[in-house]
């Protein structure tokens, strides 16, 4: 559309009661619900109301892919992403689950391939404890490679459902992947057809272990403007999102008071990335986001509300309208897939994959 301003992309991460570790103690928080799926369903619906691109599930209490399915079932357009810890599950299983979710959501799935989880109990006899960090990273990259080969193992037109001929599938368009790698040996093909998005959207976080290269969405902490612009220009493909942890109120004074209150609730030595914090009013945040985005420092933002659900509600009800009024953000979804929202085209079917 001519004259249309370039628009930014928004991803929100949901972690329990918010990214401030003591946030659960705030009067508005619902700590008794943090281990219940319905809480995250409601948050995802709020994010969808705000027309966000993607909601990312980062909570420690509920199996990520199962929760993702519940969110998919209760939303319509917003992308839904979750962590897959590559340390202890097989890529075949993960690829199948994500493909199924991409089908069920009609192309709204996303994932982050993480190397390890702080949340899982220690298995004393699993081999991964023998590996060095660089081996774990290597294995992580091979995991991603296998998953991608599996998603590519069905050509787009392999599913026929031809009742007359009695052909459900065209076997000539489905390929074993015959992967013989250092860490994985997988024959394939995947048990279900090519996902609607070709491949689910892959997220990479520069601050965490796990492959960044080839990620569709790269999340990076807030740095100086110069550093950010340099990073953005070095990124060849995919969208770069800057992390921001907003603490908002009607006035700057109130916002600082809220930030101070939340800080007081911290216990022990909780790790908080102060650099990502933005304490101020909705207008101030919208101003900053506009400046950052139009300078070319990123393609959008990764919002980690300090306090939930209030922080997300305030963002959706007070910041989003400002961005929309300035033509910086969509007023409604124009696409039905996450690739569409993010404007990240699908990989071509890989012609190197043969029988």
């Amino acid at each position: 559309m001519t004259g249309q301003r370039r628009q930014l992309h928004l991803m929100v991460s949901l972690q329990g009661s918010g990214y401030e570790p003591g946030s659960w103690r705030h009067s508005s928080a619902q700590p008794d619900k943090l281990h219940l799926p319905i809480y995250y369903q409601q948050l995802a619906q709020t994010a969808e109301r705000g027309k966000l691109d993607l909601v990312y599930l980062d909570n420690p209490f509920i199996d990520p892919l199962t929760l993702m399915a519940a969110i998919v079932a209760n939303t319509d357009r917003i992308g839904v992403g979750a962590t897959v810890t590559t340390e202890l599950i097989e890529p075949f299983a993960a690829a199948r689950s994500l493909a199924a979710l991409d089908h069920f959501s009609k192309g709204r799935s996303a994932w982050y391939a993480g190397t390890h989880s702080n949340y899982e109990p220690q298995r004393l006899n699993d081999r991964s404890s023998e590996w060095t960090p660089s081996q774990l990273l290597e294995r992580n990259q091979e995991f991603i490679q296998v998953a991608e080969k599996l998603w590519d193992s069905w050509e787009a037109d392999a599913l026929l459902v031809d009742r007359a001929q009695g052909k459900y599938i065209d076997a000539s368009r489905i390929h074993r992947i015959n992967h013989e790698g250092k860490y994985y040996q997988v024959v394939g093909p995947l048990g279900i057809p090519r996902p609607p998005q070709g491949r689910p959207i892959r997220i990479g976080f520069t601050e965490l272990e796990g492959a960044i290269g080839g990620a569709d969405v790269v999340v990076t902490p807030r740095a100086s403007l110069e550093e950010a612009i340099a990073r953005k220009s070095s990124l060849h493909s995919g969208k770069l999102l800057t992390t921001i942890v907003p603490i908002l109120a009607h006035t700057e004074v109130d916002a600082r008071a809220l930030a101070s209150e939340l800080r007081q609730y911290r216990t022990s030595k909780n790790n908080v990335q102060e650099d990502n914090l933005f304490v101020g009013t909705p207008t101030q945040l919208a101003d900053w986001m506009e400046m950052w985005f139009t300078s070319g420092a990123s393609d959008g933002f990764h919002i980690q509300p300090a306090l939930l659900p209030l922080g997300l509600e305030d963002f959706v009800d007070q910041v989003i309208p400002l961005l929309q009024a300035r033509g910086l953000f969509r007023t409604d979804y124009s696409s039905s897939t996450l690739r569409g929202h993010l404007d990240v085209p699908a990989e071509r079917f890989s012609e190197e994959v043969t029988q």
């Binding site: 700590p31 199962t66 929760l67 199948r96 069920f104 004393l124 599913l159 994985y184 609730y265």
Partner: protein
């Protein structure tokens, strides 16, 4: 309220229906197998029929025959947990059971997934514990080959014990969420899982809460000796393939008879034989529908399926001649011992030709293939229930969703009228529907 014993009824949702020809039938929703909407619709119909549970099985790889992908066969069911979660969103009462195998999964993940599903569904989850028969599966999971039958079951036993320990790690009231005192979790109610076994070694706490039901209901299938032992020790619901009343009765008595040695009561285990009904408003109509389905499978394909099942190539034998069982080694087929035996018994008992026996693989893989009217189905079910051969049935739906609709709209009302099936759900969890008690957390005893 009737004191009459009532049927427990589950329905199996697999492929496009249990019948291999089902997907080609014009009324089958074969192009919706990847749509959320189909699973929601199926679940809602089943709930309308006040059934106890839906079962979705895990299919690990595409169907192959002689090392080639079978093009005439529908694709396997999509991801189990995703499908169940989607069904949970569309319903409020019906149980949601899924298979996750104990061979290619990790106990922590299985425990975590079912805790999640039980909370998503407010206490309606069931876990069908299988070891997996799929011979191709190892090659998708970086393994060299299939485990021996007995090793698989040994692993399964340890796997299940560990999964229960994970579920018990948090006591039911571990979440304190006390804002003032800053105590989120009552650490005295979160226990370390310590497990030192042949297959697994663990030392750590779960990060997920205890399921709503304590444990999801534990289902199990597999009628081999190892399978029955596992069932008697661990299972709360057992699926079984029985194609005649005397055998079903013998199985029921035998399995229930082993319970006391594990300190378990009769009513702690629900036995559900499988039945794959094709229903019509008249017997003739039902037979026509069966023929329609059978016609949709080419005889050569049916024979190929039978060959696959028996792990023996029948293609060079005359299709209208006898099944050469003397040349088929039942014991050698480690993945499907009990099913192969069932087919052999059936063929010998009724003097079936290859063509005839191949028709028995189109339906329920050795489960009872029933063709008739809803009235006749009700008679059949009543007879087996009253004979003491079962506690209910697992109904393998012929084709989606019509097969389920006919069952719910025509057979269920008859059962309800006879007092054999509930008119309304009286409870809200799967345990409630099955009359099973909620396991106490060993940490709180």
């Amino acid at each position: 309220m009737s004191n009459k014993k009532q049927l427990h009824l589950g329905v199996l949702m697999t492929y496009a229906g249990i019948h291999a020809g089902a997907w080609r039938h014009p009324n089958t929703k074969s192009d919706q197998l990847l749509d959320q909407s189909l699973y929601r619709e199926f679940a809602q119909i089943a709930e309308r029929g006040k059934l106890d549970a839906i079962l979705i099985v895990e299919v690990l790889s595409l169907t192959e025959r002689n090392k080639k992908l079978a093009e005439d066969f529908p694709i396997p069911s999509p991801d189990v947990m995703s499908a169940l979660a989607v069904m949970a969103a569309a319903t409020s009462k019906i149980g949601l059971t899924g298979t996750l195998n104990t061979t290619y999964n990790d106990p922590f993940h299985v425990a975590s997934k079912f805790s999640a599903l039980d909370h998503i569904s407010a206490g309606r989850a069931g876990w069908n514990m299988v070891t997996s028969q799929d011979p191709n599966a190892p090659f998708n999971y970086s393994r060299d080959g299939q485990m021996d039958h007995s090793v698989r079951y040994e692993r399964a036993g340890e796997f299940i014990d560990l999964v229960k320990k994970y579920w018990d790690s948090w006591e039911d009231d571990a979440v304190r969420a006390d804002k003032k005192s800053a105590i989120y979790l009552d650490e005295s109610k979160v226990h370390t899982v310590k497990h030192e076994g042949k297959f697994f070694s663990v030392n750590g706490k779960s990060n997920f809460p205890r399921p709503v039901q304590g444990y999801p209901v534990l289902f199990q299938a597999g009628s081999s000796e190892s399978g029955m032992k596992l069932a008697a020790q661990q299972a709360e619901v057992v699926f079984t393939a029985q194609d005649n009343l005397p055998d079903a009765l013998a199985f029921y008595k035998k399995l229930k008879g082993t319970l006391p040695s594990y300190g378990r009561r009769d009513d702690e285990l629900v036995i559900l034989p499988g039945i794959s009904p094709i229903l019509g408003s008249t017997e003739r109509e039902a037979k026509q529908l069966e023929e329609q389905f059978n016609e949709l499978i080419l005889p050569e394909i049916a024979v190929k399926r039978l060959s696959s099942l028996l792990d023996f190539d029948l293609s060079s034998y005359p299709i209208d001649g006898p099944v050469p069982f003397s040349e088929i080694n039942v014991e050698a087929n480690v993945t499907k011992k009990s099913r192969v035996q069932l087919l052999k018994d059936l063929a010998q008992r009724e003097n079936l030709t290859i063509r005839q026996l191949s028709k028995h693989t189109n339906g329920g893989s050795g489960h009872f293939p029933f063709v008739g009217t809803p009235e006749q189905l009700a008679d059949f079910m009543e007879q087996w229930l009253e004979a003491g051969a079962c506690d209910g049935f697992n109904i393998l739906i012929s084709h989606f969703v019509e097969g389920l609709e006919i069952l719910v709209d025509h057979a269920i009302p008859i059962l309800q009228r006879r007092g054999l099936h509930r008119n309304e759900y009286t409870g809200s969890t799967l345990r409630d529907h099955l009359g099973l008690s909620r396991p106490v957390n060993p940490w709180t005893r």
